[in-house]
Amino acid sequence: MASAKDETGRNRPPLELHVPEPHYRPGDAVDFSHLDITRPGAQPRPDEVCEAKETYPLCDDLIRVLGDDNQAHGPWDPRLGADSLRTMLREMALVRAFDNRMYRAQRQGKTSFYMKCRGEEATSVCATHALAADDMIFPSYRQQGCLIARGYEPIEMINQIYSNKADKLKGRQLPIMYCSKRLSFFSISGNLATQLPQATGFAMASASKGDSRIAATWVGEGSTAEGDFHSAMTFATVYNAPVIFNVINNQWAISSFSGFAGGERATFAARAIGYGIAGLRVDGNDPLAVYAAERWAADRARSNGGPTLIEHFTYRAEGHSTSDDPSAYRSADEQAEWPLGDPVNRLKNHLIALGEWDDERQEAQDAELDTMVKQAQKDAEKNGILGHGLHHPFHTMFEDVFEELPWHLEEQAEQAIRERRIKFPEGRPGS
């Protein structure tokens, strides 16, 4: 034991190391009454080109639009038409149907890995709708909603998830690490937060060319702890880059609660203050509030107002991925008790309250989307599932390391093909 006396013999109080502990562990009863859930419509909406500091009260607030009465309230109401609302509802429902089917596909052994985004659909789908179609998205790994909102075909996604012979990424990437330059959706990395400086760099390049495209990037609250976050914020403020940082605070980073990223001390939106950029904290389960906040930040960036950090306060309703069991580290009651509800239900109920939707249409749409995903899955399976031989040719393993194949990779490619001939002298059907 270290002595609590200094060299002159004076007593000093022993120091204590604080290791954060979440409120609830498995078996605990859950009570979220300590969360400050604000009144929808009560948050002021500053002008998009305001001084950044005008947004700072909003970093400790929570922008909400949809009330318990299923109506839109206050200055952040984006006043979207019913067609736009139905489109977002449909896409969120499609994401959910897709997630459910792919989760099952992983459990059936058709692929190695999957990640659902249940409860967080609004933070990708509705945010994407607030951007221009050619604004560049630098996603993290739970932004399938961005791709679906830009019209990516489910079969393309499933081909990637199966790493099959039709996978556009040639079976090189872990499932769900999509990429689509056509849809301005950057390649997903498994290394966290690296996309933040990259989005900033893209935005800087666009600005330096006098272009009108902005960049938007997504990151979990857990990986804001990475140095890349600080680098990106610093570059963004230094060059007033037209970039939006979406921090998805879903409370959990695998088994570590947001306290391990500093969430016990301050909101994640409040980090904007230290960098002198605009910050907004928004109810991430409120599709209208998410859209409105993202649109505010996009308009700000596009008018040379600079970067915005948006904290989407939400809840990860499922495990981190197919590789973890959330009941081993958090209370199973959390999801049911989450005070901000479910984004799909909230938008559905809003449309019903507007007289623009009903439960029968919702059920019919869910059935239609499930059939559509099922069909896409069947079609994708004709191209193969993981580990069943229908992969890209061996030589593709060595391509795209460089633009041109250098001699050492050519030699290694010859070896790989030789090994295969030794293992399968008669050839292997379908490969």
């Binding site: 990429c179 400086p197 760099g201 390049a205 570059f235």
Partner: protein
């Protein structure tokens, strides 16, 4: 005595313009100037490179000439510098980030190794990272352990990165232009000990300048030296010496002092390596010495030694030798005891010749 091979005759094309004397700093500056002029997508960024022109003056005058959005200072954040360069490349620019000292590059490694180097592969060539990371490296300037390192083997170990190291002003310009035009991420290490003159390893003798040397006669315009091609520095039968950067000059001066007729190959590019030139030379001489300044264990010399042994074994008449820095941090006061200078090289040459 070994015979020096004539330089500067092969690759300069008709638009390379008038030739003038340049030291390596001026040659690098000229390469950057030429590329900023030729290609509106070329963008320079780094700490102190703008108004000030870089701590080694490699970017002097370029901001004034090409503007603040083409040549600009950055925050002190190597992670940020490389990270935004990846994003700029995704947009379509051709960024040339400077890392002020190679010793400072480590905070940027994740962006280099996991992102820039892998982007083409993981996106099936939809996105590329056509950046050239320039950085002064190597010791011999009393830089202590944080301004002297030679970390090239970290980068040669990474699939998807090219590593290029010039040994003369002429090569520096031609290789740098090739790197900037290359569509893959390239590490361009500048041996800072020879920025101002070809260091021969005899630190206790007066420093030499590039003046009067053929390889410091540099065309003012555009020319390229292809990546992946070694340069034959001297011809000779006694042994093959594989070196790059500063150590090319040290090895040459030691051979001259000892009267050893060695064939010295300046590798110029470590990845992709000019294996054909290495094999052809070693098969002819039957002896091989590898010289680098970097630490020994898992250094690039280990790779070279393995390649020569695997591919030229039946031509070898002596074990392959490596001369390297020691496996310690680069010490300040004992810099010349660390440096793989004439004594260490001379001993290895004797050992190979006696075998």
């Amino acid at each position: 005595m070994s015979t020096a091979v004539a330089q500067n005759t092969s690759t300069a094309s008709h638009d390379a313009g008038e030739t003038k004397h340049m030291n390596m700093i001026e040659a690098i500056n000229s390469a950057l100037d030429v590329m900023l002029t030729r290609d509106p997508d070329v963008t320079l960024l780094g700490e102190d490179i703008g108004y000030f022109g870089g701590v080694f003056r490699c970017t002097a005058g370029l901001q004034e000439k090409h503007g603040k959005t083409r040549v600009f200072d950055t925050p002190i954040s190597e992670c940020g510098i490389i990270g935004v360069a990846v994003g700029m490349g995704a947009y379509g620019l051709r960024p040339v980030p400077e890392i002020q000292f190679a010793d400072y590059i480590y905070p940027g490694l994740d962006q280099l190794i996991s992102e820039a180097a892998r982007l083409r592969y993981r996106s099936a060539a939809e996105f590329i990272a056509p950046m050239t990371v320039r950085s002064p490296f190597g010791g011999g300037i009393f830089g202590g352990q944080t301004h002297s390192q030679s970390p090239e083997a970290i980068f040669t170990h990474v699939s998807g990165l090219k590593t290029v190291i010039p040994a003369s002003p002429y090569d520096a310009k031609g290789l740098l232009i090739s790197c900037i035009e290359d569509n893959d991420p390239t590490i361009f290490f500048e041996p800072k000990r020879i920025y101002n003159g070809p260091f021969d390893g005899f630190y206790d003798k007066p420093a030499k300048s590039w003046k009067g040397r053929d390889d410091a006669q540099v065309p003012e315009g555009y020319y390229k030296i292809p990546l992946g091609k070694a340069r034959k520095v001297t011809e000779g039968d006694a042994m093959t010496i594989l070196a790059y950067g500063t150590m090319v000059h040290v090895a040459q001066s030691v051979c001259e002092a000892k009267g050893v007729e060695a064939e010295i190959l300046d590798l110029r590019t470590l990845v992709p390596l000019d294996i054909e030139a290495i094999e052809a030379s070693v098969e002819r001489t039957g002896r091989c010495l590898i010289v680098h300044e970097a630490t020994r264990t898992s250094g690039f010399g280990a790779e070279l030694s393995a390649l020569v042994t695997e591919r030229c074994f039946y031509h070898l008449e002596a074990p392959v030798e490596r001369v390297t820095g020691f496996d310690t941090p680069y010490p300040h006061s004992l810099e010349w005891a660390y440096f793989p200078g004439p004594v260490r090289i001379g001993e290895a040459i004797d050992k190979i010749l006696e075998a």
